[in-house]
Amino acid sequence: MKTLLQLSDVRKSFGAVRALKGVSFDLLEGEVHALLGENGAGKSTLIKVITGAHAPDEGVLKVGEETLSALTPAHARALGIACIYQQPALFPDLSVAENIGLRLKKPKAFSIVSRGEQRRKALELLKRVGAEIPPDKEVRELSMPEQQLVEIACALGSGAKIVIMDEPTASLTQKEQHLLFGVVRDLRASGVGVVYISHRLEEIFALADRVTVLRDGESVGTHAVKDLNEAAMIKLMVGREVATLYPPAEGEPGATVLSVKELCCKESGVRDVSLEVRAGEIVGMAGLVGAGRTELARILFGITPADGGEILLEGRPVRIGSPREAIAQGIAYVPEDRRRHGVILEMPIAHNISMAVHPVLFRGSWLRGKAETDLAKKFIADLGIKAYGPEAPGGSLSGGNQQKVSVSRWLATKPKLLILDEPTQGVDVGAKSEIHRIIRELAKEGLAVLMISSDLPEVLGMSDRIAVMREGTLAAVLPGGSDADTVMAAALGQRGKEVA
């Protein structure tokens, strides 16, 4: 079999973050090659090197017969590389057909785009991935899963020799997943090389021929899938036994802090959620991407206020119309999108940490530099934030440390309820267990914690109770120590076991 793609010793850093520390990888004709690794292991970065979105700092790429030190997106496309990005890279203002047209074989700049032709082609591709999306709709009006399907259609249509899929099933339903698997198998049969990223091991067993495991920006080995079982794979991924990763719970939870009853918000598609979180308790929240967990958190934090149901804090009904009101009620929310909503990268750590406590820290609006620095120093010490000082800009920190800064900001408000949304996303293994330790400590001190996570082992390991969401509703509340299959079954609906 011919080698389509070969990467040797690729390195890439973002400022202080070393995302890739020497990765080698190859892809053969007609194979599905899975990439596996924890959050932040560097999978997406590796892919962006292949598609030319990032130029590697070091290393060599060999595509077909060409040896290169870097690619541009246009060049990669010309070489027959297509990609479905984790974050859909679509143009929200353009229609579906136009989006697909733009991503197909790049036409000459002055060639005429036949709209009818474009539409026909789009329809055909959408049909192949089994999506019923009108091609004239603007992409901004599509839901997340629909956008993902459009991405897949784009990649399919480009007639590429190498197709890369970064967590394509993350937001798909059962039926669409089956269609996608069919598409992947078709591609393999026609000699295309597929790079396939997924956190779902069962998909990898069902689809992949070989698997390369990344850990902490390094490749720890390539194996034939049939030589591995699930346990071996996880061991490769994390480098140690999973069970020892999570700090144990201690003591009994206290009084109920948060209680929501039949909470609804039409705008964000959350329906009839009833849930309780008690002091000293960690409630883990599982679900597929797009299940509405972030939306629920945003309702509780007043970003998209609820339009039905009831929220009770320590037994008192409250109305939360804005983040400020939420903070005043003792609710804190560490958002999922750290770059956009969490840490302001240009501002010093100290300023980031003090942001939510301005009225308390700066009485009369007057800045008190010393008080602010002291506060920052306290958290830098308490949470072990690795930075040269409170004046270091947020952007100079690694992802895990940024996350700690984000958590610090909210701890400074001395909340009663802490909502963490994907607290360890993009955080390296070491920092991850440290964050877990911190969360557990906080719970021990009597905080009520609601922890949203897509990382199933994390939810299983950390939670005292597990709430599972699906399509905007609460699918189940399971006791701590439930097994992964039960949780997944709840997240996927009844037929969850039929994935493969």
Binding site: A16, F301, I303, S322, P323, R324, A326, I327, Y333, P335, R340, H341, G342, V343, I344, L345, E346, M347, P348, H351, M355, A356, H358, P359, F362, S365, W366, L367, K386, A387, Y388, G389, E391, A392, P393, S396, L397, S398, N401, R409
Partner: protein
Amino acid sequence: MPDAKPFSIKALLARHEVVLLLVIAIEVVIFSMLGRKFTDGSNVANIFRHSTEIGLLALAMTPVILTGGIDLSVGSMMGLCAVCFGMLVKDAALSPVVAGAISILIGAMGGGVNAFLIARLKLPPLIVTLGTFSLFRGLAEALTKGSRSYSGFPDSFLALGNSSVAGLPAQVWIFLLVAVGIYLLVHHTSFGRSFRAIGYSPEGSRYAGLPVGRNVSLAYVLAGAIAGLAAVIFVARLGEARANAGIGYELLAITAVVLGGTSIFGGSGSVIGTLLGYVVIAVLQNGLKRITSIEIFDRPISNISAELSGMLTGLLLIVALAVNPLARILATRRSRRQAILKP
């Protein structure tokens, strides 16, 4: 990891401010060598007397730009407030003090219109203030039927624009007061902190529970009020209130702010920078008028000072902006070349 040498934004800003100081020094040296009586006390007073309004608008614009916005309407607002002031004093026979206070209030209300559209309805500041740019000037013209002007103000009021107090033009004292106020607001209060945070990341600020709408509104209302104040000072200086007060001042104010190192995208910048940027422009405009002994284009420089200072300001702005990115591009080129040489 973050063991890198402490890299601080402050140091960088300081550098920009040092550069501006240097530019001012060069201007002063050149103009005192070539210009006539440039360093005379009365001329130095003129430099600041004539540019007080622009300086005020630049100060007003700084918080707005820090939040990532822009206010094109301040010049027109000056026209509207000047006309209102004139009407209040001459038609309604109010004392200049009361009329001045009302004019500032009107400015604040105009700023409130901007604030409502920008902070509440979340409309783009550029277009909103482009609209109010026309609207405010249009109202000023409509109120006066275009041609009415108001003059004959009491001398005690005109003194505000034309007399000196303790060696400085009277209005410069007001300017300094406002400058200190804005400096404290931007650098020493949580408002200033939130302006920056909003400029860097409006969404992030909202998630952090900052009162984004309120603070953005504050910036625009303040800008309107200061424009009202500038209008009163302007009328006191000219002794005449007309709908054409402050034409084109918004562009000069923005130029001063950007020249001062404030990012037009919001977030970073300083009031000291704005003040220095403003001084660079004010000195340039005045100094060129003083060079009568050198001719270019067959005309003495003093004859074409207005055109030259405009051109030089434009070029200075481009150079000031381009220096950093250019240096960065050259630096990466060099480092790449060295990497290749190094094996």
